[in-house]
């Protein structure tokens, strides 16, 4: 059994050490909000935070996680209260929604490092997340809106 810290909880898993974090989360811990899209860090659907940094969980083996703290979409907030969730809801961003866990995690990580991102900052931070439904225009607006909400929260 390996110890793993997910969403603030100390958990144990019997997954083999080489199992990608994505499948540890989905199959072993039952956290299916993190999605499988490509298995090759090309689509961003599996994005989680490791110590607050965005990471493609399909490319991180369990053994490499160690004691670092993992945050998934399920742990981004309780009651969808994170500013990116509020903004996404306000702008009705998702269509099929499959990529949106990864989009939200990338956006949340961006705002944590840069609370007032420019369009260019958003381009850089969000380029790794594919949305096949084409919600990019609303995602861009929602990141800006989340930045406004963040400013109010911090005021």
């Amino acid at each position: 059994m390996a110890a793993i810290n997910v969403n603030g909880k100390a958990l144990e898993t019997d997954a083999a050490p080489d199992t990608p974090l994505l499948w540890v989360l989905r199959d072993h811990l039952g956290l299916t909000g993190t999605k499988f899209g490509c298995g090759a860090a090309l689509c961003g659907a599996c994005t989680v935070h490791i110590e607050g940094e965005p990471a493609r969980s399909c490319q991180v083996a369990l053994t490499d996680v160690g004691t670092r703290k993992i945050t998934t979409i399920e742990g981004l907030s309780t009651n969808r209260s994170h500013v990116v969730q509020q903004a996404w809801l306000e702008l009705d961003v998702p269509q099929c929604g499959y990529c949106q866990s990864g989009q939200l995690m990338s956006a949340a990580a961006l705002l944590a490092q840069n609370p007032t991102p420019t369009d260019a900052d958003i381009d850089t931070a969000m380029a790794g997340n594919i949305c096949r439904c084409g919600t990019y225009g609303r995602i861009r607006k929602a990141v800006h809106r989340a930045a406004e909400l963040l400013k109010k929260e911090n005021a």
Binding site: C43, D92, Q95, C96, G97, C99, I122, G134, T135
Partner: protein, 714 residues
Amino acid sequence: MNAEVQSLTHNTRRDFLKLGVLAGGGLVLGISLSGCSKPAALGAGGQPVAWLRIAGDNTITVLVDKSEMGQGVYTALTQLLAEELGVALEAIRVDAAPVGAVYTNNLLGAQITGGSTSVRDGWEKLRKAGAQARSMLIQAAATQWGVAPDTLKVDAGAVVNGRKRLSFGELAEAAAKLPVPTDVTLKPAKEFTLVGKPAKRIDTASKLDGSAIYGIDVKLPGMLHGAFAQCPILGGKLASFDATAAKAMPGVKDVVGTDNGVVVVADHYWQAQKALATVNVEWDAGANAALDNAAIRARLKKASSRTGRAARSDGNAAAALKSAAKVVRATYELPMLAHATLEPQCCTADVRADAADVYAPTQTQTIAQATAAAVVGLKPEQVNVHTTLLGGGFGRRLEVDFIAAAMVASKAVGKPVKVIWSREQDMTHDTYRPPAFDTVAAGFDAAGKLIAWKLDLTGPSITARMFPPVVATAIDPFAIEAATNYPYDVPNVAVNYNREEVGVDVGYWRSVSHALNCFVAESFMDELATTAGKDPYEFRAALLAKQPRFKRVLDEAANRAGWGKAPAGHHQGIALMEGYGTYMAQVVEISMKDGALTVHRITCAVDCGQMVNPNIVDQQVEGGILFGLTAALWGDITLERGQVQQRNFDTYRMLRLPEAPRIDVHLLESSEAPGGIGEPGTAVVGPALANAIFAATGKRLRSLPIAKQGITTA
């Protein structure tokens, strides 16, 4: 499609939902659908249908028969019912309907979500169901209060009489015992309070916290996980396999052969995926071992010299071309494309001796059920299909190829099994958009008037594989879209279709043949404008005097885009189309620098008739445009030795956020019948973009993708 699928529907008809007490203690309110436009397709005419459940605790659940794949049907169809029922959208929850003949899509003849038909099919049905339910609830209240029903009204989930209120939940039990009224009056459009309003989607919240359940997220007690490999050569089969090594690996429970592949079943997916790589498989390559793109192109080119079947014939185009003072001809070729839904194909099956449950992200419950049953030797009525959310559909999940492996594996191990395709399996085993090899000719008379238009389409037929009886006597209707409805005022028009199979299974891909044929027709119209020495917008506008809906969207797009007034160094292209009863025009504004393309802005004018939810219409137009833009820029599936060369998103490129241009959508008010909106945007952007590139460079693009035409796309 009707005949074939209808018989299938009849064979699989079941009484899924009956009036009765729910587990929660409430009642299912049965609503008859007698009086539908095609009652025969519903099977037993007056069979009770539950579109709606009202529980004693006032929980109101709408059962939506269409699959939610991002296009917003859970919201839009619920709006239709809620409009007549008299409840706020927020007060309603949605469940996926099961399989049932009563849920037959009257436009397609089976329980299918596709062809941008959902609102058109549901427009009457769901409003009528809501009105019937309202009438029954009012009657129940009238009886209880001893007053005439016409003195009562509904308000926010209750029947009201002055200050007295009875909630729908309080009335549900009595209402469900009443006869279903056959004759209800629907609200006129001017009284709509929900329909036509830009409501928020009801599925958004669950898509923001990981709680939405897609096919890949299904969890069942005791469930095992399957990884799947199919014959790398398209159309090939499984010959034999040796799984000795795999079976010795941790967690592996069994290795099972299917018709065309091998499934490793294990406690966890990663165990199955790792073990799959160790299975030694002998494949039966079949007929495609040498197939490549050159061979496909050669077949289509040769076939294109035949005279095809006439799909439209006005006047005599051949004679008019002979007598024309000037004739213009061109050949257009279009590539195969993958759907690339972001959720890879997947399915969960629980097969037992006398029944099965299938949890599938499917666009066709009818065919999924029949297929699942056939694979394991059950009767369709022994198979329950549970429709999950779909992580993208785009036509890919009209196929049922992702169901068999889960059924076979579950039957073999006697437990529920979830099979997930790798991205590589998904990309290399799609049913691809048909390739096309089309020739087009037009003639002008001595006065410069366009007098002849002749379009000859050549390609494989999707419908011939999916619904063979449809093409036994008729041309595949999904091969000649945006071709036979050529709108311009030309006296001699011929559209011919040459079916030529190429050895690859082709599939319905968002907007189907609209995207192929609109590219050819609207690119060539631009060529003709150049020949005529006219502005592309004005050339089109002058030929649309008898087509007010086309003219209106063309004018609107041109005006909104500032046609002819692009900033220095920017260039514009325009294109239009009618598809699914929706009229659309787009203007694409680009710049070219040292051979590199930048798309700055896309302006789209839409007349889709009466709208249900402009917020969702806007989403669909934006998303549809980006789907089509991705394909126009990069989409290209190629074969070598019968194997698809694109395996993941590194070689099958997707548009990303920094590359997404500004899109301005202009929705026109219209009282016309509702049109479909999920697909038209995809078809129109390609030719508008190619026309803009011509305006910028003088280079006419007669094949796609653009990235392979000597243009850099950054």
